[in-house]
Amino acid sequence: MTPVESAERALRRAVPWIATSLALIAAVYVRALAFTPAEAAQGPAQKIFYVHVPSAWVAFLAFGIVGGVSLAYLLRKDPRLDLLAESAAEVGMVFTSVVLVTGPIWGKPIWGTWWTWDARLTLTLFLWFVVLAYLVLRGAVNEPERRARYAAVLGILGALLVPFIYASVYLFRTIHPMPVILRAGGPTLPGAMLATLLFSIAVFTLFFGVLLYYRYSLARLADARADAAAERRDA
């Protein structure tokens, strides 16, 4: 099998998984809307929680992967690691955007404002800017080896930056709802809501993994095709 064919096969393997994840996301919403009690104070607005929180978790996960894989790239110089970091950044960008869009939709009825310079909103916004800078930087360097090195340096520094932005915005006051699961004294969320949330987080994580795999396979396929084209030219 040629490298192009095996890359195409790897890409096709993801398709049933994408379908499965989408079906599971539909299931999350059936459960959230029909089988989970409405929150007493917030009413139906709270339902967005089951998209917002899992997306935020996935966004930070993606960012952690970019940082870790970037470091591994600088140590190993394996171009596949660079493709993985690029894929994680791109997929993470989508989920970060979902967080930034769903947040204000909930914030308007509950806080009475679309946006506020609260600690976690600010942090997520700057995370989004860093990922954007990462992708813009990749687009602005033509030579692949240099692009990989630059991107890796920015990926690592970006991961180091997150705790500092968190600390600086946290020294301001926050009005964002406090954590309801990972907190001292155990979860405060009622059982049915907690089950829906955990289900939703698991599904979103799966969906993220599938998209990451798909995006990575696509990058590998593009590379394989470029190599094949170069070989044909030489022959």
């Binding site: 800078a133 930087l137 090195r149 630059y150 690592i156 520094l157 930056l161 500092f164 600086s168 020294l171």
Partner: protein, 226 residues
């Protein structure tokens, strides 16, 4: 160790000498700074907002933009005639090249700040003198963090297609922690609060400087190897 310091000094001295002989970048940065400070005067309603409430933000936005001008210049200089290749071919260690660049940029930005601060005090009628000691400390710490990261970003930005535009896109998110802490501490100083109240911000700023100076020394090599 002695060698590292000597080479660092030589790289910094080369850049400072180049700037001293032409003075174009320094003079334009000064004019730019004075203009920004003057224009800010029109950004507020003097009957509604007192100059002192806006002063810390104005000071730091001015410093940030002026610094960005200096940082853009640092590696653009090396790009002409491929001067950087000569520097890298010499036996100077990468760390010495980086530290020398940081030192030269600190001298540049520091000199601009030294002229801008009295001008700022004059334009906005802020009592700078009574808090000069702690204020200089805050400025020095924030400038160090911002120049350390900025020098690294600038070494990457000059080799991209967008060059001058790329630096702010890369650098501005990294300025959130140092500039936020500097603005907060400056505001507390101007309001006459004791410096001890700003310790949380000071710790954040010092932590940022330590982590990012170390990380930039470590990763600079990856941005210039050919």
């Amino acid at each position: 160790m002695h060698d590292l310091l000597r080479v660092t000094w030589a790289v910094a001295a080369k850049d400072v000498l180049l700037e001293f002989r032409s003075r174009t970048a320094f003079v334009s940065a000064l004019v730019f700074t004075a203009l920004v400070l003057a224009i800010f005067n029109f950004a507020r309603d003097p009957t509604a907002v007192s100059a002192r409430d806006l002063a810390p933000g104005i000071l730091w936005i001015t410093f940030t933009f002026a610094g960005m001008l200096g940082l853009n210049r640092a590696f653009a200089l090396e790009r002409e005639n491929r001067a950087l290749d000569g520097l890298l071919l010499s036996p100077a260690s990468r760390t010495a090249v980086y530290l020398g660049k940081v030192l030269a940029n600190l001298a540049f930005v520091g000199a601009v700040e030294a002229v801008a601060l009295p001008l700022f005090a004059l334009f906005f009628n802020v009592p700078v003198l009574p808090v000069l000691g702690p204020l200089v400390l805050v400025i020095a710490l924030a400038t160090l963090g911002f120049v350390a990261v900025g020098t690294l970003m600038s070494s990457m930005a000059v080799n991209t297609r967008l060059a001058e535009l790329m630096l702010p896109v890369l650098l501005l998110p990294f300025l959130v922690p140092p500039v936020t802490s500097a603005v907060q501490m400056t505001a507390q100083l101007f309001a006459g609060r004791p410096f001890s109240e700003a310790l949380g911000w000071l710790r954040l700023l010092v932590g940022y400087d330590v982590i990012f100076v170390a990380a930039c020394i470590l990763f600079f090599e990856s941005t210039i190897e050919e």
